[in-house]
């Protein structure tokens, strides 16, 4: 598409923008086209807090707050009622440390500096003054919505970077502007043992030294500033840098340092600095903390464990079972066949089994794996009220990993506490989050079964006053009657936006696993744009398009020769989209 020509979808964006400005609507949920802001969740199992499940209980939500929780709550006339029989209501989870919402940094060449021994602080990764607002910038990264769809209602977001990336803030997982989702701003200092590239501090030992240096200077500057503020006469004007200024709340023990310490040696290093300097500290993103458990317990340190776990190793038991099956099969079919080959194969297999060095190493690996998985259970046993963090954890692994932790001995109650009440108290937001109680922010979610059931699915997510409903995706059954309509073909589509209807055609080509989609607008029929991220899952089709910088996400469900769904337009929200097949495949 050429720059001179205008695609109607772009106009649509502008149009929407005007619409929202005019009525001053605070956008809250990406699916919001709600007619009411009062919701009534009827007759559910309400998991009010870890270990407390209230059966046959209803929850009334109004204006984004939990209005009441109980067995006999009256249904207001304007409430949207959600029949939640046999469903579970949970307080939105709290991710105790994450980069959600912040775009991943592009890989850049190593910056060149004149003096690598004393580089500009920013290039060296030392920006403690950086805020989450700055880090998020204009556009919220989609990682935030992904967390929300997993049941997270709140996130302690910290900037990305190297040694001192900046300060953390607590946000809801809403999709509105940062201003609207902020719960608490600049509540922590995020720190990592991540050296700069080719300049000081280029090593972990350099980072240790740099941290001490900054801290001590912040202490001196802060003390000086205090005495200057009391009696400036006769004193030279204070002239500390922005970096030092940002560390004043830390040296005053008002702001905790969230120290990213995945591995045991980083945990040790953070403990060393903490013993020396005495700041408030939270060991964060801990994957391998158990070897220093005694020290962590003795020092009463706050801990945020990582939700990352090593790749799953299947139990050797299962392997044995497989072997058995194999053996049985062999016995059944074997005898008559020429024995030569079989024997050799068996021999090989036996040989493999008998290599004691490899077997020992495999056993050690499994033991190590089990220690990582069992860490959460061990911390629970030691009475440490830990929280959990999604740092360095793939979103799709979060739930499976939580279930693995439970399998590894962590109680469901403990897991739930680590996701709700513990982080709420760690982050100082217990009065607004962490439980399903009257007066709290209604960032809650509803599952069809207990969350810790492997099969459980989220049905509804409430977030910042909005509701997102998760409809079961119907799997397309191949070969079944009347359902055999391919997505391939030319489709007419209609998008309803306030005061307008947009139409156009969509051409789908290729094969089911390798689709191409081109789409235009009726106003500019010659201009097609190509879709990206095309995914056909059963009869659910999703793809993205980008029109002169504005991203659109389309999510539709195919029903025979029609489809129905929505298009989400960047910050503007989402709008109903329908369509029908114009021409089938040739």
């Amino acid at each position: 598409m050429t720059k001179s020509k205008h695609f109607k979808l772009e106009l649509l964006g502008l149009f929407l923008c005007m619409f929202f400005v005019n009525i001053g609507f605070a956008q809250n949920s990406n699916d919001a086209k709600e007619v009411t802001n009062t919701y009534y969740i009827k007759n559910a199992f309400v998991v009010q807090k870890p270990g407390m499940v209230l059966p046959n209980t209803s929850v009334l939500i109004k204006d984004g707050l939990i209005q009441s929780v109980g067995p006999n709550v009256e249904i207001p006339f304007d409430a949207k009622v959600i029949d939640a029989d046999s469903m579970y209501v949970y307080a939105g989870f709290i991710d105790a440390c994450s980069h959600a919402g912040i775009k991943e940094e592009e890989k850049k060449d190593r910056p060149r500096v004149k003096n690598p021994g004393n580089p500009p602080k920013k290039l060296a990764g030392i920006t403690p003054q950086k805020t989450v607002r700055e880090a998020i910038g204009e556009k919220l990264d989609k990682s935030m919505a992904e967390l929300r769809d997993l049941g997270f209602g709140f996130v302690h977001v910290v900037p990305r970077g190297r040694m001192l990336p900046g300060q953390g803030s607590i946000l809801t997982t809403g999709s509105g502007a940062t201003d609207e989702t902020l719960v608490k701003e600049n509540t922590s200092l995020f720190t990592q043992f991540k050296p700069a590239r080719g300049m000081f501090p280029a090593t972990t030992i350099g980072v240790m030294s740099q941290f001490r240096d900054l801290y001590k200077n912040a202490e001196y500057s802060n003390t000086y500033l205090k005495s200057y503020n009391m009696q400036p006469k006769g004193l030279t004007k204070p002239n500390h840098s922005a970096e030092l200024g940002a560390m004043f709340p830390v040296v005053n023990k008002q702001m905790p340092v969230f120290f990213y310490t995945a591995k045991v040696r980083d945990v040790n290093r953070a403990l060393i600095l903490n013993n020396e300097l005495g700041f408030k500290m939270v060991l964060t993103g801990v994957r391998q903390g158990w070897p220093l458990m005694d020290e962590i317990v003795a020092g009463k340190h706050s801990v945020v464990l990582s939700m990352h776990l090593p790749e799953k190793i299947e139990d050797p038991e299962e392997e044995k079972e497989e072997d058995k099956e194999d053996a049985e099969k062999e016995e059944k079919s074997g005898e008559k066949e020429e024995g030569e080959k079989k024997k050799e194969k068996k021999k090989k297999k036996k040989k493999k089994e008998e290599d004691p060095a490899l077997a020992m190493m495999k056993a050690k690996k499994k033991k190590s794996h089990d220690e990582y998985v069992g860490q959460a259970a061990l911390f629970e046993k030691k009475g440490i009220a830990f929280s959990l963090s999604s740092l360095d954890t793939k979103t799709k692994e979060i739930k499976p990993n939580l279930l693995r932790m439970v399998e590894g001995g962590l109680s469901e109650k403990g897991a739930l506490a680590a996701l709700t009440t513990n982080p709420a108290s760690l982050l100082g937001i217990s009065n607004v989050a962490g439980t399903v109680e009257q007066g709290k922010i209604a960032n809650i979610f509803i599952t069809d079964k207990s969350f810790f059931d492997k099969e459980s699915k989220i049905k509804y997510v409430f977030n910042d006053g909005g509701l997102k409903e998760f409809k079961e995706k119907k799997k397309k059954k191949k070969g079944s009657k009347g359902d055999d309509v391919s997505v391939i073909g030319t489709w007419n589509y209609t998008v309803e936006v306030p005061n307008d209807t947009q139409t156009g055609i969509m051409i789908v080509d290729g094969s089911d696993d390798n689709l191409t989609i081109r789409i235009n607008s009726a106003d500019e029929p010659e201009d097609f744009v190509d879709a990206t991220n095309i995914d056909l899952d059963g009869n659910n089709l999703t793809f993205d398009i980008n029109v002169e910088g504005i991203p659109y996400s389309i999510d539709v469900t195919l029903e025979g020769t029609d489809f129905e769904g929505s298009v989400s337009v960047a910050e503007f929200g989402s709008f109903p989209m329908t369509g029908s097949l114009k021409d089938g495949p040739k």
């Binding site: 240790m208 003390t223 045991v264 020290e295 050690k364």
Partner: protein, 452 residues
């Protein structure tokens, strides 16, 4: 007040959790090479609570002590390596000609299997050093080989004096001069880096003294770099200087004299034999290789007689490894001084026991078998200077850390839960011969490989 007591309690708890394991052990009927008091045949050594309690004949084993029969075996103090880079995550912060602010003890790796390999060579203590990329490198750490722990703090030899790495010659010239075209580009430049750093430290010391006495009101900028330089000026840190050429060795002694610094041990010091009387007069130590040179232009003028010449001239001399491989047979390295220089058994063994202990400032605690010293002991099947000697058992603080009778194939501690196995062979991380310049070229330049 109550609060204060509570704080103390927490500290005590934290400290106790780091306390090292101390063992009780009785070694019966060995040939005991004491280093400080001759060789004693058919003698027992008793270690209680990690310290040598008694050396003599017919000692009865206390109830809680493990007894080891050393009949026909040789019992000597644990070997000490005054120059090594094992058990370190990071060796070089190469970004500046002066990096006295860093400390390799912040990057200890107690899971490094090289520690166990060193134990298998009878080595109980090593000096984990910063690299030689900078004229003034970082502080080093003296570690005890208490392999088997996860806690880096348990490796540290509590109470050992602070030490720091300096470097002369081609390494700092190449990294900073050639690499970035800044001082030092020449050997003259290296001298100026030292002089400037010490001069700044003197000013720094004065600035803080003025502030602390109330003479000035604005606090000076706190600098870890200058704090360490100041501590060197105050005699609190022993310098260990990477060196080869005699002229530079004399140069550094002159610089130190000008600034009143006395504690120094030269490392490598291949041309030490040319200036042995001067080193002895200054009171400088020398830690050398037995017979390793010609790996770089400034290391051609060398001799295997170096250790013997230095020793006979009254220089406290040791033989070091600077390598995860050599560290396993320092007793062989020491024996070479008998072929090249005719040192006596005791003179040769001092090179790997009491002398490195003196150079590290820990000779009051280790380096010889004496009542009251640490129970760090190596047991050999033959005289340790014999080519047939094989270490049998290595003991640290009275705890057996290596036993040839119980020496499993896989001694790794930190196992990657996602490690991949290969069918035919097992890949263990191979130790570079020398890590003096580790991290330098990966960080600063690409594609170069270097030694020393």
């Amino acid at each position: 007040m109550n609060k204060y007591i509570l704080v103390l309690c927490v500290f005590a708890l934290a400290f106790s959790s780091q306390a090292q394991e101390m063992g009780n052990i009785l070694i019966k009927n060995g040939t005991v090479i004491t280093i400080s008091d001759g060789v004693k045949e058919n003698t027992d050594v008793l270690v209680t609570n990690g310290k040598i309690k008694k050396i003599g004949k017919g000692i009865k084993a206390p109830e809680n002590a493990k007894t080891i029969d050393a009949t026909g075996k040789f019992v000597m103090p644990g070997i000490i390596d005054a120059h090594s880079h094992i058990a370190l995550e990071t060796v070089n912060e190469a970004t500046n000609p002066v990096t006295s602010e860093v400390f390799v003890g912040d990057g200890l790796d107690p899971q490094d299997v090289a520690i166990y390999r060193a134990l298998a060579g009878g080595v109980t203590i090593s000096h984990a050093m910063h690299g030689s990329a900078n004229a003034v490198g970082g502080e080093c750490e003296t570690i005890k080989h208490r392999y088997g722990t996860w806690d880096p703090d348990e490796l540290r030899m509590q109470g050992a004096p602070r030490t720091i790495k300096f470097a002369l010659g081609e390494n700092p010239m190449r990294v900073h001069g050639e690499g970035r075209n800044i001082t030092p580009n020449t050997r003259m430049g290296v001298e100026q880096v030292f002089r400037k750093a010490f001069a700044e430290a003197e000013m720094y010391k004065k600035d803080w003294a003025d502030f602390n006495s109330g003479k000035t009101k604005t606090p000076p900028v706190y600098s870890r770099r200058m704090e360490t330089m100041k501590d060197i000026l105050n005699g609190e840190i022993i310098i260990h200087c990477h060196s080869y050429r005699a002229d530079e060795i004399l140069m550094l002694m002159n610089v130190l004299s000008d600034f009143g610094v006395k504690k120094i041990c030269f490392q490598h010091v291949n041309e030490g034999f040319k200036v042995a009387p001067e080193l002895a007069q200054f009171g400088a130590g020398a830690s050398v290789f037995s017979d390793w040179w010609a790996y770089k232009f400034e290391v051609y003028y060398s001799t295997a007689y170096n250790a013997a010449i230095l020793s006979r001239n009254g220089v406290v001399t040791s033989i070091n490894s600077d390598s995860g491989e050599l560290i396993r047979h320092l007793y062989h390295e020491a024996a070479k001084t008998q072929r090249y220089g005719d040192l006596s058994d005791n003179e040769a063994l001092k090179l790997i026991t009491i002398n490195p202990a003196i150079q590290l400032g820990i000779d009051d605690r280790v380096g010889s078998l004496e009542v009251g010293k640490d129970g760090d002991i190596a047991i050999f099947n033959a005289h340790p200077l014999s080519i047939y000697a094989i270490p049998q058992m290595t003991i640290v603080d009275g705890v057996v850390k290596f036993d040839i009778e119980n020496d499993p194939d896989d001694m790794r501690i930190d196992i990657d839960p996602e490690e991949k196995f290969q069918d035919s062979f097992i890949e263990l991380d191979s130790e570079d011969e020398d890590r003096c310049m580790q991290d330098v070229f990966s960080e600063l330049f690409l594609g170069e490989t270097h030694k020393h």
